[in-house]
Structures are given as C-alpha cells and as structure tokens.
Amino acid sequence: MDRIRAIIVKEWREVFKNKFVFFTVAFLPLMITALPLGMIYFATGSESFAGVTAADLPPQFSAMCGELSGGDCMMYYIVTQFLLLFMMIPVIIPMTIASYSIVGEKTTRTLEPLLVTPVTTLEILVGKGLAGIIPAVSATWIGYLLYAAGAHIMVDNPAVVGKLFDPLWMTAIFVVGPLLSVFGVSIAVMISSRVNDPRVAEQISGIFVLPVVGLFIGQTTGFILVNQQFILWMAGILLVLDSVLFYFAIQIFQRETILSRWK
C-alpha cells in the first residue's frame, strides 16, 4: 500500500506541473458544470415551457417524469440531457494523466530504474491508475454536486431537482463514472506503450471518448433515451470491458514486455 501511495503522490507531483494536464483537470469539469447550468438558467427564464405537455416529449421519457407537469418534465428532460456530459470527465482526465505519465516515463527513461525495484506490475498500474482515477472521479463528483446545487437554486420545483438524486443519476455518477475512469486509464496504458509523444497518445485515446459523445448526441436528438435500464447496461458492459482491458494492461506492463517490445 505504501508503494501505491508513493506512486500516486509522485505522479501528481509530476503531471500537475504540466500546464496542459493541469488545465484539463481543472477546467474541463468547470466547463462541463457551467454549460448545463447556463442552459438551465436560460430555460427557467423562458416562458415557452408553460404550454408543454407530455406529448411534446419522447414517450419513453414522459414515463420517467411520473407526477411532474409537462413544463417540469421538460425541465427534467433538459437537466438529464447533461448527464452524459458528466460521463466525459471520468474518461478524459485519466486518459490525459495516464498518457503524460507513461509516455513521460518512457521519454525520460525512468522506467528501468523503477522496474528494477521490488514494486510489482499490479502496484505500478494501480498507482498510476489511481493517480488518474482519483482526480477524475473527484472532479466528476464535485462537478455533479455543483450542478445539483445550481439546479436547486434555479429550478423552482424541488421534485425536478430531486430527480438529480434518483437511482439513474446515482448509478451514473457513482458507478458508471469510476468504471469509465478505469476504462480511460486502461486505454491510455495500452496506447502509451506504443507511442513516444504524450499528445499523440492523448489524441489516439480521444477516439475512445467518441462513443460517449455519440451517446450524448443520440440522446439530444432523441435517438437514445438514457434511463435507468440504459445506465445499468452501460455499467455491466463497462465492468466486463474494464476487466478485459485491465488484464491486457497488466500484460503490457510486464517488465519483459516493456524492455523488449515497447517502442
């Protein structure tokens, strides 16, 4: 445990001195939190919600609104739209941190002295992984809490704000978020082993954020409905995916592999 803690502290001391990494970790969650709050602010100021009925909303979504009026259901719809946006934070941040961390170790040739110590592959990966996952999950949770607080201030109906704490959001933020972080780290580890520039690693890793962006667009355009069942499926798939990816990440991080096959 001491080794894992030491790796985490070392990673943070290193990567947060990089302005780009610091910017990503600090500003991405702020942006993602501010954007929906701004939308809610303008939506609450609009009178066009007054005449909204359940028929104006996707039928599956209306079912999720329960007792809410048409206008409140629309507000809930808007509030929920941004759920997937919050799912981007736990993918992007660990990818950025892990890319800079691993490629950085390669380019500065710090891996060999590290690998000659009794540290295990699992300890290195867990340490490096947590160094990316902890800020990402913290940023997601803080962002979510700020969003909830902002929504509480701006949205009149407490029932709409209460929806932000229903099982859908809880599962998304507290289960799917960390699972997405593990996904991000595992992908970054695999890509970082093949490239020698952290920006390239980050750009290639960025491809794996596209499914989340796709879901966001799909939901916004009405093709996909993010409900409890969807989130549970997502959690299940991610759990399997994470297990497989983490297994491959461990194989890639073997001393033998690093010194004989990494480029």
Partner: protein, 314 residues
C-alpha cells in the same frame, strides 16, 4: 551474504530477441566483494546480461543465480538484493533530489529513509541541493543522485552501466573514487563500461563479451596471457650486440632494441631479471633502470576482439 559462495553464478545463459541472439551461452561466476568488469563493443550483450541478472529480462535458456536466488523464479527476492545504475540516470526531473530518493525509498521499503537520504546526499555532495528540482541539476549531479538511488537500500550487488559516461574529468574521478570506496565496503560491483582505463583501475576481474564470452580474468593475467611479460632495460647506449647477450637465455623471447632500450619478453621477470642484468653488465652495458612494459587494457581488448572476429570469420 559474505561467504565463499559466488554471489553471482551464470550457467549457459542465452537471450534472443526474435532472430537476434544477443547473449550466447555465457557462463561465469562472480565472488562476493569483487568488482567485476563487463566489457565489449556496442551490441555485445552487456546490457542484456545485466538486465537478465537484474531480473528485468528472462533468459531464453540457461540459468543464473544472484545472491543465492534464481533469476526468473525468485525475481522479487533478487530485486531487494541489487541496485542498478542504468546508462541513463532516469530521474524524475520535476521532483527534487530528496523527493526522488524518498520515492525510491518507498519502492524498496527502506526503513529510516530520511537518514539514508541524508547519508548519501551528504556523501555525494548534494545535501545542500536536496530541495531543488532535478531538472536544474548538471549531468554529473544527476549521475551522483542516480548512484545514491541505487545504494539507498544498501544492496549486496550493484550494477553500474557506464557510470562515468559523459561526465567531466572531475566528476568522473569523484564517481570512480566513490566506486573504489564501495569496493572497500565489501559490496559486489558489476561494472559495464567502454572506459577500459577505468575498468583496469577498478576491476578485480574483467569479462570480455561479444555475444559470447571471449575472455575472463584479472586485467593483469589477461595482459600476460596475451602479450606475455615484457621487460624494458634502459641503457645509456643500447648496442645491437647486446641482443646476442640476452637472446640465448631460455626464458627470454622477442628481443628488440628501440632507441636506448632493450625490450625482451621474459617468462618470470622477478626471478629471471637478475641473470639478464648480470650478463648485460658483464658485456659492458650501463643500465640506468629496468621496468616492465605495461600494456593497456585497451590493447588486450583490441587483441581479443581481433581474435574473436577472426575466429568468427574463419
């Protein structure tokens, strides 16, 4: 582990990378407290051998034991017993010297880490710079810090890969003196270097490798094996006829006169020189002084590599 058992034993150790055979059935032992030089041209398999012994790479075949533990089977135990200074210092630039060492202290589970850090940083003259980021350090300071890192957990075996490479003469001398000091502590040191003068000065024994083991012995014995022992008789005036005085001795071969010197290969100079000197004096030679021609380890190296290439081509 200070006993008579070898601290490193290598038996027919080989390692391939795809079709390339980097290390070919190398066997040797290293004794505790020995400074052992691993010498050879680039691509000779020195680093691969060190990496196998440091439990970083697995051998393709053969076996090796380090501090009594078998590589590939007891790697974690080996890692606690060894320290490595790789060719590139590999320090974390954004961290201070102290943070770098504290990190590695945690990796090795060093108790009293602060005391160890202070000890080595003071010893290597870096204590006053301990709070500065390594990025601000000169190459020599980085190398010293990397040495401190390799010693932090007091390893029994220390692998040093080109420890003075790229250092200015003053820093290189300091590092060499430090290595000599470590030898005094009874630590086993495996030194990979291209600096043959350094190897000659520091190593008890050297192994010349070129994929396979070309030769292994102390620099002194290797010199004798390859070049014999050449004695130089400095005379006031070296006449050609003096060679006829020296040549008849059974224990003398290859006699030549160069300027005012007579050079002769003598089997056992300590025993045979008095006879030769006596004969020369009787013949009227005025001897100023007598010495042994010391071949450089570089000459041994070049000779060995030439023979190795010859046997490979032949």
């Amino acid at each position: 582990m200070m006993n008579n058992e070898p601290i490193i034993q290598i038996k027919n150790l080989s390692r391939s990378f795809g079709d390339i055979l980097a290390v070919d059935r190398v066997s040797f032992v290293i004794n505790p407290g020995e400074v052992f030089g691993l010498l050879g041209p680039n691509g000779a398999g020195k680093t691969t051998t060190v990496r196998m012994l440091a439990a970083l790479l697995e051998p393709t075949s053969g076996e090796a034991y380090v501090a009594g533990f078998q590589i590939g089977k007891e790697d974690q135990k080996i890692r606690r017993k060894i320290g490595l200074l790789p060719e590139a210092p590999g320090l974390y630039d954004a961290l201070t010297a102290e943070q770098n060492l504290a990190f590695y202290g945690a990796m090795y589970g060093v108790e009293e880490i602060s005391r160890q850090i202070k000890h080595y940083l003071e010893f290597l003259g870096l204590w006053n710079r301990r709070h500065e980021p390594v990025a601000t350090f000169s190459k020599g300071m980085r190398q010293k810090l990397a040495i401190a890192r390799a010693l932090l957990h007091e390893p029994e075996v220390l692998f040093l890969d080109e420890p003075t490479s790229g250092l200015d003469p003053q820093a290189a001398r300091l590092v060499r003196e430090f290595i000599a000091g470590l030898k005094g502590e009874g630590r086993t040191i495996i030194l990979c270097t291209h600096n043959l003068e350094e190897a000659d000065r520091l190593c008890d024994r050297v192994a010349f490798v070129n994929g396979h083991l070309v030769a292994l012995d102390s620099p002194k014995v290797l010199r004798r094996k390859i070049f014999g022992r050449k004695v130089v008789f400095h005379l006031v005036e070296a006449k050609t006829e003096f060679t006829q005085v020296v040549e008849p001795f059974d224990f003398v071969s290859e006699v030549q006169v160069v300027e005012n010197k007579i050079l002769a290969s003598v089997e056992d100079p300590e025993k045979n020189n008095p006879e030769v000197i006596r004969a020369l004096v009787e013949e009227g030679a005025e001897i100023q002084f007598v010495g042994e021609l010391r071949r450089r380890l570089e000459d041994v190296y070049l000779e060995l590599m030439k023979s190795a290439e010859g046997s490979n081509n032949g």
